[in-house]
Amino acid sequence: MNLETVAQLLGNGLLLGGVYAGLGIGLSLLLGVLKIVNLSHSAVLIFGSLIYWELVNTLGLDPILAIFPVVVAGFGIGVLVHRTVGQYMVREDSRTMVLAFFGILVLVESAAIIIWTTDTRTVNVGYLSQLVTFGSLSFPLSKLVAAGLTVLLMVGLHLYLTRTLGGAAVRAISQNIDVAQMVGIDVTKISRRVFGAGLGLAAFGGTVLAMVVSFSPQEHPRWLAWSFLVVILGGLGSTLRTLSAGLIVGVLESFIGFLLPFQYIYVVLYGLLALLLLVRPQGFARTKQREL
């Protein structure tokens, strides 16, 4: 294994990791701010991938532009769901919420299978499939775009949360919801938007995932596992740490996939997840502030 191979693997891993960060951010946001365990995260994600597939393959939309309607739709549906069912998602009764979201997982997955069957699909990214070369390394343009968009999104989210008043209000809600209410923040309205963002980001994850891999509806739990790993590794409460966690997972997968038969990736990454949960469940976060 020479330097060139290492560099190529590293590059692949970083690009893949960028996408993985995109997978995890929706789950992380809902868990961190609203204390909601969205078990249906990967089902929504895959539904987003399928809609994206329809837009690009069937309707022939541009693969980059087609992302936006999917994300907006995800946000809209999230706001709608929160508006109708939100009051029942009381954070006190967490078991009810977990069961309800599992039901939603089944619902969304079944709907996806009914509409699109269990076939594996690949998005025809057209002009994005050309290779871009940097010296002796080469990467498909689609992977560069997918990772690039994700990084842009996450940096934007980070800036919003840390530099704006609206973002401060969101963080306030995640740290002390009663005091947030007390100072006059409209907690319901903001929670609604965060929930919408959570689903919208899940849908976004689905689109960038669909750009780079083939997928099928009933295999979505795999992406829930990856998302969860990214969330635990990165710790709740920091967009940038979630991004780093995603990159690490991507690089790990890239190298392990090269050294061992592919199925070992699952064992290694699941094992890493179990180890993290055992030893350091807050991941990169500084202290153990967030114990759910």
């Binding site: 401060a168 947030a180 006059g184 409460g237």
Partner: protein
Amino acid sequence: MNRLTEPDNLGASLQMAEVNAGYFEKDLVLNSVSINVRPGAVTAVLGPNGSGKSTALRVLSGFLPARQGKIWLDGEEISALSPGERLSRGISLLPQGRSIFPELTVEDNLVLGAWLLRHNKSELKSAVEAMFDRYPLLKGFRHRVAGSLSGGQARMLEFARTLIVSPSVLLIDEPSVGLAPFLVDEVYDELERLKGENSTILLVDQNVSAAVELADYVYTLAYGENHLQGNKDSFEGQLDGLIQQWLSL
């Protein structure tokens, strides 16, 4: 000790009239409780553990709905208003225990405290600076993460946040709980300062002697009901007897 009764309207600014309230369906923590908060004065609400003092504050601040009875502010009924809406009418609560945003800076904590002023950036800024002027110690910490403050510093921040929107009524819930004695003195010094500025204060505290000394008027609750009420003078000599009574309840 006689039960003194007061006529209903003594120019009270904040009023709780015959309120029933509780946390779970069948349970009644407050039973027909009435409290008048006199403007420009300190009203103390005392009582043994479980008498409903903190619950009364929760009802007044809007965190717990009243099942029966009404809440009035300057003659206007506010029973249905949320905590945020009550803040915009001038009622500010300093809750029990820690109430800061631990991962935000001191400055961000104050900025959020002035959330109601967010549409006027200059007004918000001057409100924040005014609080730093009032509490110069906080100024030095303005970029520090609030979770790293000591107990006394955090309390100061909480006071600043409570005052930043220039409220007309202050609800103070057990300010001395969990603080070392010298910090309790500091807290009461601040309350004296506020009293000197003619603030309207409703104070709930376990520290009976300090509370009575600060207060102008005192209510006591027992088992979720009004028990005694009267001017500070009528209570001052009877403190030991009162405490004896409560310990035996």
